[in-house]
């Protein structure tokens, strides 16, 4: 039990900081923020708590409770993607995760998702990396192949959904209240 728990914990612990940095770096803060996981008890970790700390750039250590809505969302996404590094499900379904995000953070999250969405079995993950930022970190790139997952997102923000490969439009019939679907392929318009 200790072994399976620590295998999961260590994998996520190693992945979280890199992912959080990818989600928080900017021109003013090229290093991004800092995030880490720590164990309250090291002998029987599954009986105690796991502490998750995320510090946005230039913010000093504060309880997660003190973070703003948008900051909590970014930290939560970093944790989910770090868990995915250990347990790679083939796809994510994300319902309005951008609700609390400002325009800049929407762009960062959209870019992160874009750079990770390729079908599984796409050959050598390391050969083609659309995220130019990863070039800054050649050691990390060699150590762990870049995760891939299909993304299905629900969003009200055009700055987010315009980055998708396809749109599924849902509308409600005015009389019956039934939902109808219209699909729209965005790939001809991709840059």
């Amino acid at each position: 039990r200790y072994d399976t728990f620590m295998a999961a914990f260590d994998a996520v612990k190693d992945a979280i900081d890199g992912i959080f940095k990818e989600l928080t770096r900017s021109a003013t803060h090229p290093m991004g923020g800092r995030a880490f996981l720590s164990l309250e008890s090291t002998e029987e970790p599954f009986l105690a708590g796991v502490k998750f700390t995320a510090m946005p750039p230039t913010k000093r250590y504060r309880d997660m409770e003190q973070l703003s809505g948008g900051e909590k969302t970014v930290a939560a996404l970093a944790l989910l993607f770090a868990i995915h590094a250990f347990q790679p499900s083939p796809f994510f379904v994300l319902d309005e995760i951008d609700a609390a995000l400002d325009a800049t953070n929407v762009a960062r999250v959209a870019r992160y998702i874009q750079s990770h969405t390729r079908p599984a079995g796409d050959g050598d993950d390391e050969g083609f990396d659309p995220n130019p930022d990863a070039v800054l970190d050649p050691v990390a790139r060699r150590r762990a192949p870049r995760q891939r997952f299909q993304s299905i997102v629900i969003s009200l923000k055009d700055t987010f959904y315009e980055k998708a490969d396809a749109l599924i439009g849902v509308s409600r019939d005015a009389d019956s209240g039934a939902s109808t679907i219209l699909t729209f392929d965005l790939s001809p318009f991709a840059e």
Binding site: A8, L80, S151, S155, A166, S187
Partner: protein, 167 residues
């Protein structure tokens, strides 16, 4: 692997039989408030075997009912969601979960599970999903509306539970 498309029938706000897809690498579901976007997420969660306690309604409430009819007889007595999945090897697998009236009681409903149109028991269904990396009990790849911030707000004990689930 990846999701190719969904087929929903008489599920939540989806009347009759509708094809949803194709899903690409990065697909966005868009539309006005109340149009049925989260209902699609419910459909995906439902067909993957998530228990109704975690969905927004009982099996009975998941069946489509229209705005006009007032009585329970207007509601179709059967509905289903089918998810067509392409494995890493390029094989197409159809997972379907059907809502049917329970044989024991007129007002109760139960779920039936099918893989490629052959009825199977829930554990076989769940095991098959697990073999493709789809771990429904942990549900880490499903983020319901309004839930993302609470992931960061989890207490240390709740995070331990999360790690126990994924290991």
């Amino acid at each position: 692997g990846r999701v190719l498309h969904l087929e929903v029938e008489s599920f939540k706000s989806y009347q009759g039989h509708q094809l949803i897809g194709p899903f690409r690498d990065f697909t966005a579901i868009v539309g006005p408030n109340g149009s049925g976007k989260s209902n699609l997420m419910d459909a995906i969660s439902f067909v993957l075997g998530v228990r109704t306690a975690h969905l927004r309604g009982s099996l009975r409430e998941l069946l489509y009912s229209n705005s006009e009819g007032g009585s329970a007889d207007d509601r179709p007595r059967r509905g289903q969601v089918k998810l067509v999945f392409e494995t890493g090897e390029g094989v197409e697998v159809a997972f379907a979960r059907v809502i049917v009236p329970s044989s024991s009681s007129a007002e109760a409903y139960i779920s039936q599970y099918r893989i490629d149109d052959r009825e199977v028991r829930w554990d076989a269904y769940n095991t098959r999903l697990q073999s493709y990396g789809i771990l429904v009990q942990a549900r880490n790849f499903l983020v319901f509306q309004g839930d993302i911030e609470s992931v960061a707000a989890k207490s240390p004990k709740e995070l331990t539970t999360l790690f126990e689930q994924i290991s």
